[in-house]
């Protein structure tokens, strides 16, 4: 009697054939899914790896078909930094992206709030117009805008034609913020009004603190849009190398360095790196923001 009870329960092997098949099936699925996952991960990361490895090759090796550098030329990065203008491009891109983001956020919030919480005639029309503006390629209005900035205001060769419009709200940011603000229950607003707050105070004191994730997402999107923008600087800043941004500068770098792929890849790494670093610190806001556009919009 005692021997039977003393026998430890066999947890390893499944008891019934059905369970055995089920477990095998689950294992196969796990293997299949994770193999696919690894394959996909390779697809997404190998380009970064090859770019980085090439950036460390010597001039002659970069033209060969080798995949791994023989010598690790960290000096390539020094060369890229020393390229005349490289630090200027950094500075300009930071100004464009930073200042632009601040202006966009500040100017878009009141508009988004009005579209989310006010009721007025023309609200739906305004919303539809905002969405139309969102979908508009910049090339549609570039000719008159360029003539306006360059001939009327003599601001070509600078980034101001790109930054100033951001002080008047950005359609995408307005839309995103609006969707987010609509999820804030009206009871909070009513409570604030009962306390005697006007609309503006309500916005600043009550709504904004609750809208932080939405604002963060919008700020991030706008920052990356400006950071990655190529067409804008190409049109407005190209004639003045002192106003070039990283995207435009990277292209001219390739033009100046032809088949110096090692140097070009080093420059590419330096242009990609900041964005990726910022992402690591702001992951949550980013993913939330992307979700907001897709699911609720």
């Amino acid at each position: 009697m005692a021997q039977v009870l003393d026998k430890p329960v066999e947890l390893r092997a499944p008891v019934t054939p059905a369970e055995r098949t089920a477990r095998r099936k689950a294992l196969m699925e796990w293997i299949a899914v994770h193999s696919l996952g690894v394959a996909a991960a390779l697809f997404f990361t190998l380009p970064f790896v090859f770019v980085f490895l090439t950036s460390l090759m010597s001039d002659s090796q970069a033209l060969s078909r080798d995949l791994i550098p023989h010598t690790w030329e960290w000096g390539n990065y020094r060369k890229v930094f020393d390229t005349p203008g490289f630090l200027t491009w950094w500075k300009n891109t930071l100004i464009y992206a930073g200042l632009g983001t601040v202006l966009t956020v500040v100017s878009s919030i009141p508009v988004a709030y009005a579209l989310a919480k006010f009721r007025f005639r023309g609200r739906n029309l305004s919303l539809m117009l905002v969405i139309s503006m969102m979908m508009l390629p910049p090339q549609v209005v570039i000719i008159p805008m360029y003539l306006f900035w360059a001939k009327q205001l003599d601001l070509s060769g600078t980034l101001w034609p790109l930054i100033i419009p951001m002080a008047f709200g950005d359609a995408f940011s307005i839309f995103l913020l609006r969707q987010f603000l609509m999820t804030i229950p009206n009871e909070y607003l009513d409570a604030a009004k009962v306390d005697g707050c006007g609309e503006f105070k309500t916005l600043v004191r009550v709504v904004l603190p609750m809208a932080k994730p939405g604002i963060a997402a919008v700020a991030l999107f706008q920052f990356f849009y400006a950071w990655n923008d190529y067409f804008g600087p190409q049109i407005y800043a190209s004639e003045n190398p002192g106003a070039w941004t990283l995207s435009y500068g990277l292209e001219s770098f390739k033009g100046a360095h032809h088949t110096d792929w090692n140097l070009t890849m080093a420059a590419t790494v330096l242009v990609m790196a900041p964005v990726i670093l910022v992402f690591f610190f702001a992951q949550k806001a980013f993913v939330e923001g992307v979700t907001l556009t897709g699911v609720k919009g």
């Binding site: 699925e29 305004s126 979908m135 209005v141 292209e251 990726i276 919009g297």
Partner: protein, 322 residues
Amino acid sequence: MSTVTLAKKRRPPGLAAKQRKQALRTLAFMSPWLIGFAVFFAYPLISTVYFSFMHYDGFKPPTWVGTKNWTYVFKNYPYFWPAMRNTLWLVVVMVSLRVVFGLGVGLLITKIKTATGVFRTLFYLPYLAPPVAATMAFAFLLNPGTGPVNSLLEKVGIPAPGWFNDPTWSKPALTLLALWGIGDLMVIFMAALLDVPQEQYEAAELDGASAWQRFRYVTLPNISPIVMFAVVTGVIQTMQYYTQPLIAGKVASGVIQGAGTQFEPGYPEKSTLTLPQLVYNLGFQRFDYGSACVVALVLFALSMVFTAFLMRRRGGLNLAGD
């Protein structure tokens, strides 16, 4: 009776003032966008229409030429119809592949139970790469002579295509680049997939549905608004496709500007031409502002058609929502 009518006509005191105050307040809150809309959207759009009927090269004052620019662009400009065909190709192939791949990757992520965060981050990273940098990276990787991809393919014995240097492979190469940056669609689909009510899956399983049947009858119907949204925004993005094909063509052709050679749009053989590039070519290389505006209006019309379609279907836009 008459007293009631009279009473209706006489508004309660203070309401007019209150309404005016509300109106002003709305105006104040909306003012940044209102000004922006008038100055940066409405006015330039009217100007673009206006300039499309003028001959203007930036120096001599514009002169009226009626439909001359329109005839030129639609009948005689050798880059217009190739660009339209390329746009069609990109819409049919690139957008659909991106949606399918995005859904696939999103699905994959939801099934990965180990180190999900790591996988998700890795899959998302390429989306963050600035377009110029990403295109240059791919132009290097896919270089037919010295790039790693062709080296690997040849080692394995697969015939290596010319990628960005071959007119039949340049758009597929661009599509590969677009699939690499699938992060944004992946996240959207991921969220949508996670939103599908678990009960529906359980019910289907109880009914004996296979994995494929569960996907087809539970997953798809639930996420179809998102799929529709992804398709339409993908089409609209294709209208704006500018930087990647431009940089790919420039880098692959190896043409150094400034050596007296004119830039050849759409290398190789007009296969990477897109409408936005035409606006740049006509406006900022040939300085034919009128014809550039014609192409700009074609872009506008195409974008608006799809935008209207998106708004019709709502896709959860919550226009009336409160």
